[in-house]
Amino acid sequence: MLLINCPYCDDTLPELEFAYAGEAHIARPADPSKLSDEEWRDFLFIRTNVKGVHAERWRHINGCGRFFNALRDTVSDQFVTTYKAGEPRPEPKTLEAAE
C-alpha cells in the first residue's frame, strides 16, 4: 500500500485515505461553446497514458477532502511528489533540488 503526502495536511498517510481522480492539468475550457467538436472530444476523452512520470489528481477523500496534484511513476507506482491544486507541475530540476 502506497504512502501519500497530502500537501494540505502536510502529512504522509496510507493510500486508503485517498482517491484517484484522473490526469492533472486538464483545465475545463472557460467557454466550451467556442470549442470545435474535435477540441471538445479531446478535452473529454484524450489522455496522455504515459509510461513513466505522470501528473495526476488525487483527493484526500477520507481526510481533509482536498483535491491535489501528484507526479507518480506509472512503472514503479511510486509517488515522486505531490503539490497543491493550481500550482504548476514541478520541473525535474526543482525535484532534484528538493531531494
Binding site: 500500500m1 471538445w40 482536498r66
Partner: protein, 1000 residues
C-alpha cells in the same frame, strides 16, 4: 517406538506420544512432529495423488514448498480445510486427516486410469482434446472437466472461526530465522532498533534445526540457537513471531503476514482467532528466506519415496525420523552427500551415492568410503521401480553426454538434489530486478526498488558461516540507513558444510525420451516432454509455456518446478534462461486462507449497514428490507398472509385512494450555501436557478461533462444564498465529490460551501388525497392552502413542534409533502403522524410501492431507466435544460455529433397487448420476432410493474428512435413461450394532466 524413529535423535519429544487419525487409521507420532514426519516415522510415504493422472505421490519436501503431500484436515463442523501441506501441519492429539484426490482409497484409486491415457493429457490438453466434436461438450467433456476440476474438497459449511487483523510498525523486519535472519535480528536488536523477526515454522532456526553438527563460536548449533533465541526474547525492542508467514511484499515496505494461532492446538482456546493478518510497515526489510532444493528430472522421479535430500536430512535431524533404511542418493550437489553420511551414522544402510558429476570433492569421497557407502560418479538415473513406494533406481554411466547401459540400485528411498534455488519470491513482489548469474546459473537479487537487504542463501551464499556473516552485515546495513551504527559481529563456524554443485536440464537417458515420465511439476503432472512439446508447438515465452503446460501453476506456485521448467524450455529453444524469461512471482508466498484476508469483514461486519431514524419502527412493523447502496430500506410491509405482490398492490391502492406514509430519509441531501451559491448551481445543474424564488423548489438534473445523466433530485431554495439539494439515495457521495471537484479545482473563486446533510434530516413523505388533512393540524408557521403553499414549494416551519423544512412535492403524482425534521425527531414525528393518520387508514409503504407509483407517472429513476449513456433528450426530460444559460456541466456535449445523431435509444412507455403480461426488466426488444437469430436488438425494458391502479401492467424501455415510434408495435422474445407483444407510447400512464396534485 515407531519403526523409523531414531531414538535420541531430533527435537521432537519422543517421550510424549501423540495419537491422530489418517484416513481413519490411528497413527502415533511425537509431540513436535509435523504430519509428514509422523507418517514417515510409521513408514508411510504415500500421502496423496497427483492432480491430473492421480499418480501415487509421497512427500518430497519438509517445508512449505511441498507440492505432493496435500491433505484434508478437519476438527469438527465447519472446520475442514483442504490442501493442507502435511509438512506444515503440526500433529496434536485427536487430529483428523484424510488424503485427497483418490477413490475409493489412497492405495487403490480408479482415477489413476488417467495415467493410462497419458497421450490424452499431454501439454495443452485442455486446448486440443476438447475441441471437437462440438456435441461432445455437453455430454462428455464438460462433465469430465467438472468432475476432475479442483484439488481437494471445498468445505461446505460456514467457517465458525474468527480471523483477526492488526497493523504493526517497526524499524527492521527480518523475514526468515535461519542463521542469516538471526544474525541480522541480533545485530539490529542489540543496536536498539525496533525489530520484528518472523518464521513460518513452529520454531526458529531454519537450517540450524537440520544441522546440529555445526559449532558456532565453539558452541554446538542447537545450544547457540537457544542462546540466540533467549537473547532476542530478552530485548524489549524485538518481537519474535513463529508460525507466521510473510505472504506478500507491497509498496513502500508494507509486508503482509499471516500468523497461524490455533491450527496446532489440541483444544481451541475460547475467543482466540484462528489466524491473524499483520500489515507491517517496516523502515527496513531483511529478507533471509534461504534457498529451496531443486529436484532432478528423470523417468519415474515421482514415485513415493523419492524426495529431496535436504528434506531427508531435516526429517532425520529435526524430527528423528529415517525416511528409509536402505536409501540411495542421487545428486548433482555436495549437500546430498552429507545427508547420506547423517543417515548412515543414524543406522541406515545407504545403497549408493550416485552423483551426476565426474569430479567430486575428495574429502566427501573418503568419508563415503569410511562409512562403506558405494559411490558412482558421472552417472544418470533412467528409471525407478515400485508403484506405491520406490524399490530401486536404474543408474547408467554417462559418457560425452549419453547414457551407457544401466543397472538397478535397490533402495527404499531415493534422496535427490539438483542444486539450490535462492528464494526470491518476496523480493520479486517488489519488482526488484533478478539478475542471471551465468556462472552459478541462478537468478540473484539485482536492482532494488524498496529499502530491503537480502542475506544468506537468498543471494546465493552457501554454508552456515557465510549466512551468519551476511546476515550480520545486512543488519548493519539496515541500521546505517536508520542512522544507527553497529560493529559487524563475525562468527567462527566449525563443521560447516560448505558445498558446491551443478544444475541440469532433464537427465540423459538410454531409453526413448518420448516414453519417459520425467516430472517437473509434481502436483500438476507436467513432464519434461510436455515442456519440449510446448516449445515445438510454438510457445516461445516462458509465460506461454507455463500456461500451455500448467507448469508452476500448482499450489506450490513453481517453488520446485519453475527453474527446472525454465532450464528445459530454454534448452529446447536453444537459448540461455534469461532470454526466455522467468515467470513473475506474485503474492501470496504460500496458499493463504480466505479467512485471513477477510479478517473481521464478514457477516454483519462485512459492510456498513446504514439505517434511517425510522428503521426501527419499520422493523417492529414487519417490514421486508432491500439493500439500496449501503442502506437497508423497507421494501414493503406485508400483512399476515400477504406476499410481496399483494402487499404492494394494497399499498399502492391505499396511497392513491387515501394516504400513504413513506420513509424517504435515505435521499441524499447537500446544502449549497454562500454568496455565489446561485452561480454555482447554475454551472452544476442543467436547470436555471437565478429566478427560482426563496421558498420554491425545482426538479434538478445533473449531467457529466459528457452530457449523460448522472443524478437528479428536487432542490429547494431556502434563502438567497442557501439551496437544499436532494440527490438519489445511491448518488449522494458521488454528487458531493463531483461538486467539490468543480468547486475546488475549476471554480476556486466561487464563494460556496458544500455540506453533506443526508444524516442530519429524517424525511417523511406523505402522499395521497388526504395528505394535507392529516398534516395541516400539525403545522405551525406555514399556510397550507393550495394558493399560499403551491406544488413545488418549501417552507421552514414546525411540524408537531419540531423544526422542519417542509416540501410540497410528489414522486407519486398524488398530493404530496416531504417533511424534513432533525434526525433525532424522525421516529417521534412518524409515530404522531401514524396515530393521527389512522382516521384516514394511513398505510406505510416501502420502496417497491414507491417504484410502482412513480412508474405510473413516468418519473425516471437514475441508474434504472438511465445507464450512463442517456442524455436528457433521450430520457424525454429536455425541458429540464436551461436553454438560455451560457454554460453548465455537460452543455457542450449535448451538441456533439453522436449526441444529436438520429436513432439514439430513447425512453418510452410500453403497454403489453395482454394487460396481464408483466415484462421482465432488462429484457431485450426486437422489431420482428420472426427474423433469423441472432436478432437485431433495438432496446431493452428498464422498468416494469403490475399497476393495481390501472388494472394492467406498465413498463418503460429505451428503444432506438423511440420518440418517433409512438403507437408502433414491438416484441419482447421470451426464453420459453411466444414473444410478448407491446405498443410504444408515452411514459405518462396515470393522470397525465396532473390534476391529483391539486386536491383541496
Amino acid at each position: 517406538m515407531t519403526q523409523y524413529r531414531v531414538t535420541g535423535r531430533g527435537r521432537v519429544d519422543q517421550g510424549t506420544p501423540v495419537k491422530f487419525s489418517f484416513d481413519g487409521k490411528t497413527i502415533t507420532g511425537c509431540k513436535g512432529d509435523t504430519l509428514a514426519s509422523a507418517l514417515l516415522a510409521n513408514g508411510q510415504h504415500l500421502m496423496g495423488r497427483s492432480f491430473k493422472y492421480h499418480r501415487p505421490r509421497g512427500v518430497v519436501t519438509a517445508g512449505s514448498e511441498e507440492p505432493n503431500a496435500l491433505v484434508g484436515v478437519t476438527r469438527g463442523k465447519g472446520r475442514f480445510e483442504p490442501n493442507t501441506r502435511a509438512t506444515m501441519q503440526e500433529v496434536y492429539p485427536g487430529l483428523k486427516v484424510e488424503s485427497q484426490n483418490k477413490w475409493p482409497t489412497l492405495a487403490f484409486d480408479l482415477g489413476a486410469i488417467n495415467d493410462r491415457l497419458y497421450m490424452l493429457f499431454s501439454a495443452g490438453f485442455y486446448y486440443k482434446t476438447f475441441m471437437w466434436p462440438r456435441s461432445f461438450w455437453d455430454s462428455v467433456y464438460e462433465p469430465f472437466i467438472r468432475k476432475a476440476a479442483g484439488l481437494g474438497k471445498a468445505p461446505t459449511e460456514v467457517d465458525p472461526d474468527t480471523y483477526a487483523s492488526r497493523y504493526l510498525h517497526c524499524d527492521v523486519l527480518v523475514v526468515g530465522s535461519g542463521p542469516s535472519g538471526l544474525a541480522a535480528a541480533m545485530t539490529a536488536g542489540r543496536a536498539g532498533a525496533d525489530v520484528v523477526i518472523v518464521d513460518e515454522n513452529s520454531e526458529m532456526g531454519g537450517t540450524l534445526l537440520s544441522e546440529p553438527q555445526a559449532q558456532i563460536d565453539g558452541i554446538p548449533a542447537w545450544e547457540w540457537l537457544a542462546g540466540a533465541v533467549s537473547e532476542l526474547d530478552a530485548l524489549p525492542n524485538v518481537r519474535r513471531m513463529t508460525r507466521t508467514t510473510a505472504i506478500g511484499y507491497y509498496h513502500q515496505n508494507m509486508i503482509g503476514m499471516v500468523e497461524r494461532i490455533t491450527d496446532h492446538l489440541a483444544t481451541l482456546p475460547e475467543d482466540a482467532p484462528r489466524e491473524r493478518m499483520w500489515r507491517v510497515r517496516a523502515r527496513e526489510v531483511v529478507l533471509a528466506q534461504g534457498a529451496i532444493e531443486r529436484p532432478l528430472v528423470f523417468d519415474g522421479n515421482d514415485v513415493p519415496g523419492v524426495m529431496m535430500s535436504g528434506a531427508a536430512q531435516t526429517f532425520l535431524n529435526r524430527f528423528g525420523v529415517l525416511v528409509g533404511k536402505t536409501p540411495a542418493v542421487l545428486t548433482s550437489h555436495d549437500s546430498a552427500w552429507h545427508t547420506a553420511f547423517d543417515m548412515a551414522e543414524a543406522g541406515a544402510k545407504v545403497a549408493a551415492i550416485v552423483d551426476t558429476r565426474e569430479i567430486v570433492d575428495i574429502g566427501l569421497q573418503d568419508r563415503a568410503k569410511e562409512l562403506g557407502i558405494p559411490v558412482k560418479l558421472g552417472h544418470t538415473a533412467t528409471a525407478t521401480k515400485g508403484r506405491l513406494r520406490i524399490k530401486g533406481v536404474r543408474v547408467n554411466p554417462v559418457r560425452a553426454g549419453s547414457a551407457g547401459s544401466g543397472h538397478w540400485v535397490f533402495c527404499d528411498a531415493l534422496l535427490t538434489c539438483g542444486g539450490w534455488t535462492p528464494t526470491l519470491h518476496l523480493f520479486s513482489h517488489t519488482k526488484g530486478a533478478l539478475d542471471w548469474d551465468a556462472d552459478a546459473r541462478v537468478y540473484l537479487p539485482g536492482r532494488k526498488s524498496e529499502a530491503v537487504q537480502i542475506a544468506g542463501a537468498g543471494r546465493g551464499l552457501w554454508g552456515i558461516g557465510a549466512a551468519l556473516d551476511d546476515g550480520a552485515k545486512a543488519g548493519t546495513d539496515a541500521l546505517k540507513t536508520l542512522g544507527k551504527s553497529a560493529s559487524v559481529p563475525s562468527y567462527e563456524v566449525q563443521k560447516d558444510r560448505i558445498g558446491t554443485g551443478v544444475f541440469h536440464k532433464e537427465l540423459p537417458t538410454d531409453r526413448s525420451p518420448g516414453k519417459a515420465k520425467a516430472f517437473v511439476d509434481f502436483q500438476n503432472d507436467v513432464t519434461a516432454k510436455d515442456l519440449r512439446l510446448a516449445v515445438r508447438e510454438g510457445m516461445k515465452s516462458i509465460e506461454h509455456v507455463k500456461r500451455y503446460t500448467t507448469n508452476g501453476m500448482a499450489t506450490d506456485q513453481g517453488k520446485l518446478s519453475n527453474m527446472n521448467g525454465l532450464t528445459i524450455a530454454a534448452d529446447a529453444l536453444g537459448k540461455e534462461p534469461p532470454q526466455v524469461g522467468l515467470t513473475t512471482f506474485r503474492p501470496p508466498y504460500t496458499p493463504t486462507t480466505f479467512g485471513a484476508f477477510c479478517g473481521y469483514h464478514k457477516g454483519a461486519q462485512f459492510e456498513v449497514t446504514r439505517r434511517t431514524p425510522i428503521d426501527s419502527w419499520a422493523e417492529e412493523n414487519g417490514a421486508v428490507y432491500e439493500p439500496v447502496a449501503l442502506w437497508r430500506r423497507a421494501w414493503y410491509f406485508p400483512k399476515a398472509g400477504e406476499g410481496m405482490h399483494k402487499a404492494v398492490a394494497r399499498e399502492c391502492k391505499s396511497t392513491r385512494e387515501s394516504l400513504g406514509i413513506f420513509d424517504a430519509s435515505t435521499l441524499g441531501k447537500i446544502e449549497v450555501s454562500g454568496p455565489d451559491a446561485t452561480e454555482f448551481m447554475n454551472r452544476m445543474y442543467t436547470n436555471p436557478w437565478t429566478k427560482l424564488g426563496v421558498g420554491r423548489a425545482r426538479y434538478g438534473l445533473l449531467l457529466g461533462e459528457d452530457g449523460f445523466i448522472r443524478d437528479d433530485g428536487v432542490i429547494g431554495r431556502m434563502r438567497d444564498d442557501l439551496f437544499h439539494v436532494t440527490t438519489t439515495t445511491g448518488g449522494a457521495a458521488r454528487v458531493l465529490n463531483m461538486m467539490e471537484d468543480y468547486l475546488q479545482t475549476e471554480w476556486p473563486d466561487l464563494k460556496v460551501w458544500l455540506t453533506s446533510t443526508t444524516e442530519e434530516w429524517a424525511t417523511i413523505a406523505l402522499n395521497g388525497p388526504n395528505a394535507r388533512k392529516l398534516l395541516a393540524p400539525f403545522v405551525e408557521g406555514c399556510d397550507m392552502s393550495n394558493e399560499a403553499f403551491p406544488h413545488m414549494s418549501v417552507r421552514e416551519c414546525t411540524v408537531a413542534g419540531f423544526p422542519s423544512r417542509l416540501f410540497r412535492i410528489s414522486f407519486t403524482g398524488e398530493l404530496g409533502f416531504e417533511i424534513n425534521v432533525p434526525a433525532r425527531h424522525g421516529r417521534a414525528l412518524w409515530e404522531k403522524l401514524w396515530e393521527a393518520g389512522k382516521q384516514y387508514d394511513i398505510c406505510p409503504y416501502g420502496t417497491e410501492t414507491m417504484h410502482v407509483l412513480r412508474a405510473e407517472k413516468g418519473f425516471i429513476i437514475v441508474g434504472q431507466d438511465t445507464d450512463g449513456t442517456v442524455t436528457p433528450q433521450d430520457a424525454g426530460i429536455g425541458w429540464a435544460i436551461g436553454k438560455m444559460k451560457p454554460d453548465f456541466v455537460g452543455k457542450r456535449s449535448l451538441d456533439r455529433p453522436d449526441i444529436v445523431a438520429p436513432n439514439r435509444k430513447q425512453l418510452v412507455g410500453l403497454l403489453t397487448e395482454d394487460p396481464k403480461a408483466v415484462l421482465v426488466e432488462g429484457a431485450q426488444i426486437v422489431d420482428d420476432p420472426n427474423q433469423p437469430k441472432p436478432m437485431k436488438m433495438i432496446g431493452h425494458v428498464t422498468s416494469s410493474y403490475w399497476s393495481e391502479t390501472l388494472g394492467r401492467s406498465v413498463a418503460m424501455a429505451v428503444i432506438e428512435g423511440g420518440h418517433d415510434k409512438m403507437d408502433q408495435t414491438i416484441f419482447v422474445p421470451q426464453a420459453d413461450g411466444a414473444p410478448i407483444k407491446a405498443k410504444i407510447g408515452t411514459t405518462m400512464f396515470y393522470d397525465p394532466k396532473g390534476e391529483r396534485l391539486l386536491v383541496e
